[in-house]
């Protein structure tokens, strides 16, 4: 199983080329034939023992070929350079300078990505927690309906939703009209949410868009963990003369924490790699790392530096994910 996956990755990622790739392919073929042979010839015992591997194989092979192998080629690409100006395609040269370029030229974008994604994550907790709490504890028979309402907005296209925020925040749009009517402009300006009477094309708009687009990823995991909370525990605490807020802090919050952690990961990751919100709602000074990767890859055709940036992003996020799974497992992440 592992050997098959490795073989597939090896061929796809060009660890082995030419004759060697045929050899690896041949070995894989022999392994597959041997596997099929043992399944056909073996008794029910062997068949049962091998069944899970047989079921896993096609999907896992696909993931090896089109998820793992690409990560390898990305790593190789991030250490490549064009040897002469006339090369169309970069080749592997241990070009570490791609990484220093990534940091020196796109440091601000990295910083903004993590800053915006971090603020958006905190905001989704602030907005999502009461919603999940009310659905879980006070939803009654409307629970499923309310959960449906949380998900329904996300059945429209991601891009159209984000464009609609552009409509809402535009200079003559409804949000500005409300702010004008309530004379809140000075307040929002002092918080640096508005900029010269504008909401659209500000950092706040980008963060708002990120918060909006990934909010369900926070609400649903928090709901799932709150749903498991036994309301009797809260009642018991109150019977023992705990105040409502104390019962909330000591019982509900700790039990909801796994959901908050899972939600944070599920919001922070896509938010940090996103470039749509920065593109539609931001300005040239709010670009995030996603914008830079996209620009370097698809427009400047500067694959090595784009790969270096992707690799750094992937590396940082993988650390978060591994820390998370080490302490909390993989169950809540789906």
């Amino acid at each position: 199983m592992v050997a098959l996956g490795l073989g597939a990755v090896a061929i796809a990622a060009e660890w082995v080329t030419g004759a060697a790739s045929y050899a690896v392919g041949g070995v894989m073929f022999v392994v597959v034939v041997a596997l099929i042979w043992t399944v056909i010839m073996g008794g029910p015992e062997t068949r049962r023992a091998l069944a899970p591997y047989g079921l896993l194989k096609p999907g896992v092979l696909w993931l090896c070929l089109f998820f793992l192998a690409p990560l390898w080629s990305m790593m190789v690409m991030s250490l490549s350079s064009k040897e002469s100006r006339f090369d169309f395609f970069p080749s592997f040269t241990w070009e570490w300078s791609n990484y220093s370029t990534a940091f020196s030229e796109f440091g601000p974008q990295f910083a903004r990505s993590f800053l915006y994604a971090g603020i958006a994550t905190v905001l989704t907790i602030v907005i999502g927690f009461p919603l999940a709490y009310v659905i879980a504890f006070r939803g009654g028979k409307y629970r499923n309906l309310l959960l449906g309402l949380v998900v329904v907005p996300f059945f429209t296209s991601y891009l159209i939703r984000t464009l609609a925020w552009g409509n809402l925040l535009a200079d003559e749009g409804p949000v500005i009209a409300v702010i004008d009517a309530l004379r809140l402009e000075w307040f929002l300006e002092s918080l640096q949410i508005m900029d010269n009477g504008k909401l659209l094309n500000t950092p706040a708009a980008v963060i708002g868009g990120l918060t909006y687009n990934f909010l369900p990823f926070m609400v649903l995991p928090i709901y799932v963990s709150l749903e498991k909370v036994d309301v009797g525990l809260v009642d018991a605490a109150m019977d023992l003369y705990s105040s409502a807020s104390r019962a909330f802090r000591k019982i509900v919050v700790p039990l909801a924490l796994p959901g908050v952690f899972a939600g944070s990961l599920l919001v922070f990751i896509p938010a940090s790699g996103d470039f749509v919100n920065a593109q539609f709602l931001g300005n040239p000074n709010t670009t995030m790392i996603g914008n830079s990767i996209q620009d370097q890859f698809l427009r400047q055709l500067n694959y090595p530096v784009a790969s270096a940036m992707s690799f750094v992003l992937m590396f940082i996020i993988t650390i978060f994910v591994l820390l998370y799974t080490k302490f909390l497992g993989t169950e809540d992440l789906a």
């Binding site: 998820f67 329904v152 990751i269």
Partner: protein
């Protein structure tokens, strides 16, 4: 409990309810904009300012040819990739929930990784692989990419839905003389089918809506989100809003049908038991 204390608690309750209500309003604000502006008669190229009410856009939802053909491309890609990914993902889910085997926890982690990797990394790295190998971008690369991110999603969703499934039912069927294949198709499959269908529907939606990964691997192929992204720099016809509203209505319809069928099924099963 004192009177003041009870009042404070009531106010707290009301405050939390209000916050939750506001969160729902926030969730629906842009949806309202999308639906309302599908009835707008815009002046100029952008459908941003409200002008006049018209049914014109709904009468001719498909006049924007590029937009319509892009929608068809998306639906076609999603149909193919969803079928493949549902089969591959379901097999993984069955293996994970039914059998105990070596490397299971590693497998669980491996499945979660594509879901937790930023889309931009998945998209750009896959495009690097295709570039390296000289694969031309188009339908095939987009479908490969979509299957890749859908497999994990289907596997994880189906696994969650069939958690606690009683696999001894199949054993019972075999004890009564059914072949393993027959036991699977007659007993297990009908019971896990709703979970599989739910996962397939959601992953279909993911495919139709995917922008970032597709953006890197499409070449000159234009899917619905790519068309919108391109259009957003030039002009935004109100038909975009009409098609988006249609997609919304269809998805809500499917969700309602699904939940009605689910509850009817549950009632029937409870009736049996």
């Amino acid at each position: 409990m004192s009177e003041a204390y009870g009042a404070r608690q009531r106010w707290g309750r009301r405050a939390v309810n209000t916050l939750a209500g506001l969160a729902l309003v926030y969730l629906f604000l842009p949806i309202v904009v999308i639906v309302v502006f599908s009835f707008n008669e815009p002046k100029g190229k952008y459908n941003i300012r409200w002008q006049n009410f018209t049914l014109e856009n709904w009468a001719n939802p498909f006049v924007e040819e590029e937009l319509t053909s892009a929608l068809w491309v998306s639906l076609r890609v999603a149909a193919i990739s969803t079928i493949c990914a549902t089969i591959l993902g379901t097999l993984i889910a069955i293996a994970l929930s039914r059998y105990a085997f070596r490397g299971k926890s590693g497998m669980n982690l491996f499945l979660v990784l594509p879901l937790t990797a930023p889309e931009i990394v998945l998209g750009s790295s896959l495009a690097t692989l295709f570039l390296n190998r000289g694969v031309g971008f188009g339908y095939v690369t987009v479908i490969i990419a979509h299957i890749m991110f859908q497999i994990s999603f289907v596997a994880v969703t189906v696994r969650a839905r069939i958690r606690g499934f009683d696999w001894t039912l199949e054993q019972a069927a075999m004890d009564l003389g059914a072949t393993p294949a027959r036991a699977f198709w007659k007993v297990t499959f009908p019971l896990i089918l709703p979970g599989i269908l739910a996962a397939a529907l959601l992953s279909f939606a993911l495919s139709v809506d995917d922008f970032i990964i597709t953006f890197f691997n499409a070449g000159s192929l234009v899917t619905f989100p790519l068309q919108i992204f391109g259009a957003s720099r030039v002009k935004i016809p109100p038909q975009i809003n009409v098609l988006a509203t249609m997609l919304l209505i269809v998805s809500i319809g499917l969700m309602v049908v699904g939940s009605v069928m689910g509850s009817r099924r549950r009632r029937r099963l409870e009736g049996v038991a």
